[in-house]
Symmetry: C2
Subunit: 277 residues, 2 copies
């Protein structure tokens, strides 16, 4: 079977790579990108068929850079999935935790494992640019008294050892990922649509905007605001609604929204994930 190229941000073994395989299956050929902007470039230029981005984490909140890129660029959202974030302590050799003096990882991952560091005060958390990148660095450097916090998949990729499993403080730690492509796809079954819009700065205007969905019993699963860079204290609102742009009631709602907004962009209609998280 031909391999299908999927761009993701980070080093091999990143949670985004795990999400790529979940979206595409075993034919996925993950292509590592150094930044989210270069990931969008890869898909726009057709160097990879798909791109996978994290959009929101249940503990940390939204990944704003990706909301900004969805607005600025012209890729379509064609899928969503959820991944349970399971942080492991990884090292080059099977050593007890007491032998480990420093642990490298992305600041967000270190922050999600505060209880581990409180319980092991002699272990110093050290910020690194990437979770899987920290495992890669350890595998290359041969440091034996240091560890990294990353996915179990990163340990597998770099042939390293898992010293402790699930060291995250909150087990209810999920990240929602989006699948991106140049063109929209035909969707069947339960569908979600992501849109972004901006409005005049007038009293009650957000209430009016949400009324176009509420009046038609269209459920809204997420709302996020981001500043308009050119106009201080005005915002873009990102909303996820149930239904597809092909449905009559969604079409009517978006028509109605058009009457009261400056700007609307449809980011995509895609199959709603059925996972209970």
């Amino acid at each position: 079977m031909a391999k299908i190229k999927v761009a993701f941000q980070g080093e091999r073994g990143a949670f985004s790579e795990v999400a790529s395989k979940k979206f595409i299956g075993k034919n996925a050929m993950p292509v590592a990108c150094s930044s989210f902007a270069s990931l969008f470039d890869m898909v726009e230029k057709g160097k990879t068929k798909y791109g996978v981005i994290p959009i929101e984490n249940s503990l940390i909140g939204s990944i704003h850079k990706n909301y900004d890129l969805l607005l600025e660029r012209n890729l379509k959202v064609i899928g969503e999935t959820y991944l349970r974030i399971n942080h492991c302590l990884i090292a080059a050799k099977k050593v007890p935790v007491s032998k480990i003096q420093r642990v490298f990882s992305h600041p967000a991952a270190l922050d999600q494992c505060r209880d581990f560091f409180d319980a092991h005060p002699t272990v110093a958390p050290i910020s690194y640019y990437d979770t899987a990148g920290a495992v890669k660095m350890l595998s290359e450097s041969g440091l034996y008294n240091a560890g990294a916090i990353a996915s179990p998949y990163a340990a597998e990729i770099y042939k390293m050892h898992i010293i402790r499993k699930s060291i995250e403080d909150e087990k209810s730690n999920f990240t929602r990922f989006l699948l991106l492509a140049k063109k929209e796809v035909v969707v069947k079954g339960k569908t979600k649509t992501s849109i972004v819009f901006s409005m005049k700065n007038e009293p009650g205007v957000l209430y009016k905007a949400l009324s176009v969905f509420a009046l038609r019993d269209i459920d809204l699963s997420k709302i996020e605001s981001r500043p308009l860079r050119k106009k201080a204290w005005e915002y873009h609102f990102y909303v996820d609604i149930e239904g597809s742009v092909k449905e009559e009631r969604v079409k009517k709602a978006l028509d109605h929204l058009g009457e009261i907004t400056h700007f609307i962009k449809i980011l995509g209609s895609y199959k709603m994930s059925s996972e209970k998280v």
Copy 2:
């Protein structure tokens, strides 16, 4: 006149220190804190009378850590002000830009001066933990071929030279700061109230929540959502509304909001800033 202690986060010369002086006047005695959490501690323990925090920047968006702390801790918001963010290139000596090889600053400040770095490709941007801290480091190290990006006030504090003024890409770059204290204050004139609430995850529930304000013509100037750490994909909503909790229509609106929410917390009623930004 007795000095009034005000806690701020960062090194002396930070924009937050400038905001402290704007709130309190020349009797302000700014007290530097290493983190926002330690700033909240200082005010809660009565070590300083006030605290000043940045809450939102017109380009970057909300400072989520501070929204989380306002929820977790018990300080009252008693004032707001806006500051124009004016980034200067600062160095130990009056040298031409061509002599400067590296420029240190907080990543957010470096990101707001991309045009400057594009125009000067031989100057390398280097991430540092703080804008004013970078100026302090240069003043102590005596590095002559390096610069820092920070406020003009940081140059004054550390007796350094401003090489270039206003090197930020967007002149419309403002930060909104909040003044915090242990107890609420009596407010006269045009007032704003900040609240946070969470709701059941039911269709149309945000629309219903906003209706309590819209039905009473109470304007909403800001809405921000943050995840509930204990319940994946449920949110706290932070809103700023016009009016004071002492006003009858605001009281009624909050009563009404209580019927449809799990949880409400009033962060404070305070004088609305009259500045046009």
